[in-house]
Amino acid sequence: MKIGVFICHCGENISRTVDCPRVAHFCEGLPGVEYSIDYKYMCSDPGQKMIKDAIHEHKLDAIVVGSCSPNMHERTFRNAAVSAGINPFLVEIANLREHCSWVHDDVEAATEKAIELVRMAIEKVKRDKPLTKIKVPVTKRVLVIGGGIAGIQAALDVANAGYEVVLVEREPSIGGHMSQLSETFPTLDCSQCILTPRMVEVYQHPKIKLLTYSEVVKVEGFIGNFKATIKKKARHINEDLCSGCGLCITKCPTKKKAYNSFEEDLAFRPAIYVPFPQAVPNIPVIDETVCMYYKNGKCGMCVKVCDREAIDFEQKDTMLVADIGAIIVATGYKLYNIDKKTFDSKYKGYGEYGYGKYRDVIDGLQFERIASASGPTAGEIKRPSDGKEPKKIVFIQCVGSRDPSKGISYCSKICCMYTAKHAMLYKHKVHDGEAYVFYMDIRAGGKMYDEFVRRAIEEDQVKYIRGRVSRIYEENGKYIVKGEDTIAGVPVEIDADLVVLATAMIPHDNAPTLAQTIGIPYDRHGFFNEAHPKLRPVESTTAGVFLAGACQSPKDIPESVSMASAAASKAMILFASDTLEREPVVAKVNEDLCAGCFYCKKVCPFGAIEVKDITDVNGIVYKEVAYINQGVCQGCGTCTATCLSKSIELAGFNNEEIFAEIAAL
């Protein structure tokens, strides 16, 4: 085998601490090395040309490049090799920059180390086998999980590009938290006015299959070839027959039986309901826990009034299976529950703020509903306990957020802005009222965001007090808020009528369950992890699964929307060709050696390992072995290291190659 060695100076990055000509000269004498040279920039056009020319001239079979990290330029050098007729997997990179020159000062020692690194790469490349890329077909259909603004945006983008979309929403209507908001910062646009047209567009789009009141229960397969099982929960309404007239809702005798979760428990709803008037689809749901028919078998008022005979008490949950090419997860967030928490929760509650004890201590979304024209107070600011207009209102920021002792160390990002918005909305509606905001820092990064906060302070005379509130207690119908103005260094006590807590954004309780179902990693809070925090923010580490919106980290609407569009475009990139090319660096099982212990199956982080039956000529199973799905395997090598019988080999990194590298040291 004829090997060419190319040592890059990387400007001065490598040559400052490594004597590159000496490394190149040393390699010349090594067995198998036909040609060795150093150059200032190997990645540049002349550098690549040098490689190609050397391959032709010296009839090289494989090359070793001593340069920067393979993360940077492995692809560049592989492409150069391919254009000169060498298999791309016969190119090895010795990382002389990140692993050597950048971390050492001593030229002599660093040069020695560089030589060792190159020698290791030479020994490996001698044993490398040519590999060809794996081709897998692609199903051009996207599954979008979550029908909030991020899910809606992603679904519309993909559908408008001409691909099919299955949009799954857990609640009876799409719209998510955005549909609950009164107005949006920093423009004070009416939230529903800008959202509902998109909701309708989703409903009417021929390419979008909308599944509300449904949940994804199982995802199998791999990029381009997922199979998703979706549970469609029983609405007890025949969706094809229902015209959405709403007569059943008005006639239902259980008028105020259940808290209306859309109104954040500030209002009631009957057993048969649509979450809100603009709901999409405008088809009611029967809540079995409240409905009298399910309690004592009587009533049936809805059946009597429905002239289309759409009510179906016998309806059962149904399971749907869909072939999917890519998944966009957009499950969003929920608010941190500030009430006293149960022991099994990882979050602790704020007993000192009296949330849950005092009816006029509310959270941000409840205030959104109070301020919303479609809300329970029809847009008038009234406090929940007695319906009086609060003359003094206190907003407290960072409730839960930035509080590692309660279990949430991160900043929820949107609270500064929405608190400013709340205070502004209050001042616009209650002109003689006083609004106080307790804050720790104001984080208003964004277009026109800081100006918005300043407007609240300067124009609307909202009083901002820097300090965290220690306690809230009731005294003569007022809520005494005990704080400290840390700028003036004076204690502050405010007798408020209404207290609004800007609580942290946390992932849904079942986010980890969903992550496990799909097979994507999540962090300690339950937010889904992106593949790279800077350069791959919308991709999960599982190929073909993309993230959008607040399920990845706290986000405001524009960020969620841009992330959704980015995720949609990532899915469309996938669909641009009919087959997928995958790196052939995947593990393979030697079925003769495999003892069937399946330790590999337990450790595989991608769920790529399956059980395969080995049958004799009569078709009788005599052995079970591990089988690695090449479409799912990411080539991490965990199974290889775990395998007791050494029967799994990772292509491009097999034991022979690795041991040769070590032996070369």
Partner: protein, 232 residues
């Protein structure tokens, strides 16, 4: 905590290098101090031929086993402090002054002495900073440095209380009252509550000693404060 022996270890070079002595003795202690073994620190200093100035923030960090920089100045401690209204300086500000190296202002104020150790601040602190523990350490340092105590009577009370423990192994109320009054000469303070307490059996005439008083005394001897060890 008050009577614990002061540690005489010296700070490493890096910390003293951070001191900005020109601007109002402002010593930056934002870098979490890394306690090094005493002998290596000594060696380090001798080679550098440099006099050690160990910051009080380091000392407090070592005494309390918590980083002073943990405090991010949200003010929740001051907001909930039951004795905040009597304090000259807010509790969170004491932490800030120590963080900045403005020790004189922090140690001279009455705040650490008024702290009742009720632990409301420590319980509610969002960043799990035990402020009550910190205040204890501040008092200790103030005594070690011989700083004028902001509230003399409170120190006298602490001393009188500890004296009882030293002599009897547990609290002896009548002795505590007598000791405290002799130290402060506030002879008539709170005398009106004495009869009621006596009737309820809260004031026993004779002390209830523990069995092994000698050992308790030994603890006190081993851990007593040596005054004016290092100048502030």
């Amino acid at each position: 905590m008050i009577c614990r022996e002061a540690q005489t270890r010296k700070a490493d070079k890096n910390m003293s290098g951070n001191a900005l002595k020109d601007t109002k003795k402002l010593q930056a202690s934002f870098v979490p101090p890394t306690p090094s073994a005493p002998d290596t620190a000594q060696e380090h200093s001798e080679t550098a031929n440099q006099k050690h100035i160990r910051s009080i923030a380091d000392e407090i960090t070592e005494k309390t086993f918590q980083n002073v920089s943990l405090c991010y100045q949200c003010g929740k401690c001051s907001a909930g402090c039951p004795v905040r209204f009597y304090m000259e300086v807010a509790p969170n500000k004491i932490v800030r002054l120590i963080q900045l190296g403005l020790y004189e202002e922090a140690l001279n104020s009455n705040t650490p002495w008024l702290c009742a150790g009720c632990l409301t601040c420590s319980t509610r602190c969002p960043n799990s900073f035990d402020l009550a523990k910190f205040m204890d350490a501040v008092r200790e340092v103030a005594l070690e440095k011989g700083v004028e105590v902001g509230e003399r009577d409170i120190l006298n009370f602490h001393k009188a209380f500890l004296d009882q423990i030293k002599h009897h192994g547990r609290s002896y109320e009548v002795g505590l009252v007598a000791d405290y009054k002799m130290r402060t000469l506030n002879l008539l303070q709170d005398v009106d509550s004495a009869p009621g307490m006596f009737v309820k059996g809260k004031l026993s005439v004779l002390p209830h000693n523990v069995k092994d008083k000698k050992s308790v005394k030994e603890i006190f001897e081993k851990t007593s404060i040596k005054k004016n060890q290092t100048p502030l």
